[in-house]
Amino acid sequence: MGAMVIVVSVLLIGLAAGAIFVRSLGSAVILLGTVSLLVATTFLLLAAPDVAITEAAIGSALTTLVYVLALKRTNSIDSLDDDGGRQAGKGTAAGQKSGSAAGGSHA
């Protein structure tokens, strides 16, 4: 039980760092959904089934859906972090001025 908590926690922190630092927004949203599912698992390990169901239903399914709609609406599903779907420089490689991929090795 304790070992499982440590494994889930390490995975959780890694993917959360990925969700924040990975360059492509599309994968950032998917990583966030995965983190949310892992959090739901943590709640199960903490013997909190009610919260796990709510987190899984609202946290991962619904929030990810709204993020996808937001990305679609701002044309930045496949855009990289720096240009953020700017209509002019759309997702071109040229827009890589300062793409800080500090810890984002997970994408």
Partner: protein, 245 residues
């Protein structure tokens, strides 16, 4: 430069929290529940008749929190609808250009009744097993998304959804006022008979409140997604022209 400020702020906050409190948190797992939690566990069956203590707390003992929570979701659905007025006209067809093809189309029709059944089950058994109005409502709403996004049905009349949402909200407030008008004279009191533990129709008004919450959440979230995909006003224009939809 902003990165430096960011790092500085975070490190100082982390140091502040760590030195002050983490030492106290880094202890063995507690073996006993805190006073209020213990009181809640003991009072659940006598006072509410529900099997799920978390539901008893959320719906009855701290019922006003749930009313507030429903209001927050209602606010965010209102806000999304208010702010997405400009997306009008570019309905689902534009946002999801293709219908998702054969598999998705028939898959959705197959999965639809199952999702709704599971959602309704979770809402109905909120006081017995984990889950309740909110996750159940979300599940039913996902069934509506499956319908909308795979082209089974193109438009959702937000007018009907607004009526359902309004009625469900009024039902919740009415249940609360029922308690106020009863001899107990307290808002959201559980005045209905408690029934026997473990039965679906037990725990007084808890299943009724969760039914109202579940309907409201399902209706709200369907309008939320419809507004985001911009068909809210598309369907309004059609309903304006004699409401063919």
């Amino acid at each position: 430069m902003r990165k430096v400020i960011g790092v500085l702020l975070i490190v100082s906050f982390a140091f502040f929290v760590f030195t002050l409190v983490m030492r106290d948190l880094w202890v063995e797992d507690p073996t006993a529940v805190r006073t209020l939690g213990q009181a809640a566990i003991e009072e659940t069956i006598p006072q509410s008749g529900a099997a799920n203590t978390v539901t008893a707390i959320v719906v009855q003992f701290r019922g006003l929190d749930t009313l507030g929570e429903v209001t927050v979701l209602f606010l965010s659905a209102l806000g999304v609808a208010l702010l997405s007025g400009e997306f009008a006209g570019r309905g689902l067809k534009e946002v999801f250009r293709d219908d998702g093809g054969f598999i998705l189309y028939y898959g959705a029709r197959l999965v639809l009744p199952i999702i709704i059944l599971v959602g309704v089950y979770i809402v109905a058994h909120g006081h017995l097993s984990p889950g309740g109005g909110f996750p159940g409502g979300v599940l039913v709403a996902t069934a509506v998304y499956a319908v909308l996004m795979t082209g089974v049905k193109k438009e959702l009349s937000t007018r009907i959804m607004a009526v359902i949402e309004g009625f469900a909200g009024l039902a919740f407030v009415a249940l609360g006022l029922l308690g106020l008008l009863s001899d107990r004279f307290s808002f959201l009191a559980n005045i209905l008979p408690k029934g026997s533990l473990g039965m679906v129709f037990s725990a007084g008004i808890i299943p009724l409140i969760y039914a109202a919450v579940g309907t409201k959440v399902a209706a709200e979230l369907s309008t939320l997604v419809t507004s985001l995909t911009g068909s809210d006003y598309a369907s309004a224009d059609t309903t304006a022209q004699g409401g063919k939809r």
